[in-house]
Amino acid sequence: MTVAEERIERLAELARAAARGGEDDRARYYVRLARRVAERNRLVLPRKFRRFTCDDCDAYLRPGRNARVRLRDGHVVITCDCRAQARYPYIDG
């Protein structure tokens, strides 16, 4: 595991902790920094990170707090407080 991968992991943790503590701007800063590190090192961000951050405003999403999660036919729609929507599929179990 490279330093860059570990940085991204730690930044995701920090972002989540900051979002839980109500410091949304700081969580945003950590998310942006993690994205930048991934970009510079040509890494794919972890799936959990991609699904729990807003592509538009870089907020760390906490379902029920600053994100709305709705199930549609075959996919999940997650709506950030900034009204950006992300969709990803789910498989009926």
Partner: protein
């Protein structure tokens, strides 16, 4: 590449417990807290715990930082008081050899385990204290990782 004294300069600083060992501004010396925001030229240190503390901006240039590395540096909430007192009793690293080391290493590639890369001290309970001259951290936060990569081609 875990967070070790060797990789600290390239690793994530946000979230690490830190003590300002030396500073041009004497009022910042001894400042104890956690790094919350890093910019190119400064570290913002949150003193006191749990988001209630005050955030102090410390310039990297002209400061010497002492980072505490634990096995789980990101997650656990240690009580910093006693552990840092132990480190306080020890003499701190002079700034000049570190900057020389950096200048020389740029061309030649750094040998592994070079003792001048950061002073290491064992202090029990899996905590290591690493003293780093702030001038070695002068970089954009996202670019610090790349200054000497893990690639054998560099």
């Amino acid at each position: 590449m875990a967070l070790t004294p060797e990789t600290l300069v390239r690793h994530e600083l946000n979230g690490l417990p830190v003590r300002v060992a030396e500073s041009d501004d004497s009022s910042r010396v001894g400042l104890l807290g956690r790094v919350v925001v890093e910019t190119t030229n400064t570290l913002q240190v949150e003193t006191g715990g749990g988001g209630s503390g005050r955030v102090v901006t410390v310039p990297k240039d002209g400061s010497v930082f002492e980072f505490a590395i634990t096995d789980d540096a990101a997650g656990d909430e240690r009580s910093p008081g006693t552990a840092f007192k132990l480190a306080d009793a020890q003499p701190s690293t002079p700034a000049s050899p570190e900057s020389e080391d950096r200048a020389g290493a740029d061309g030649a590639g750094r040998p592994d385990g070079d003792p001048s890369r950061g002073q290491r001290r064992g202090a029990g309970e899996n905590v290591a204290y690493v003293t780093v001259d702030g001038s070695r951290l002068l970089s954009r936060p996202a670019r610090r990782t790349e200054t000497s990569g893990d690639s054998p081609w560099q």
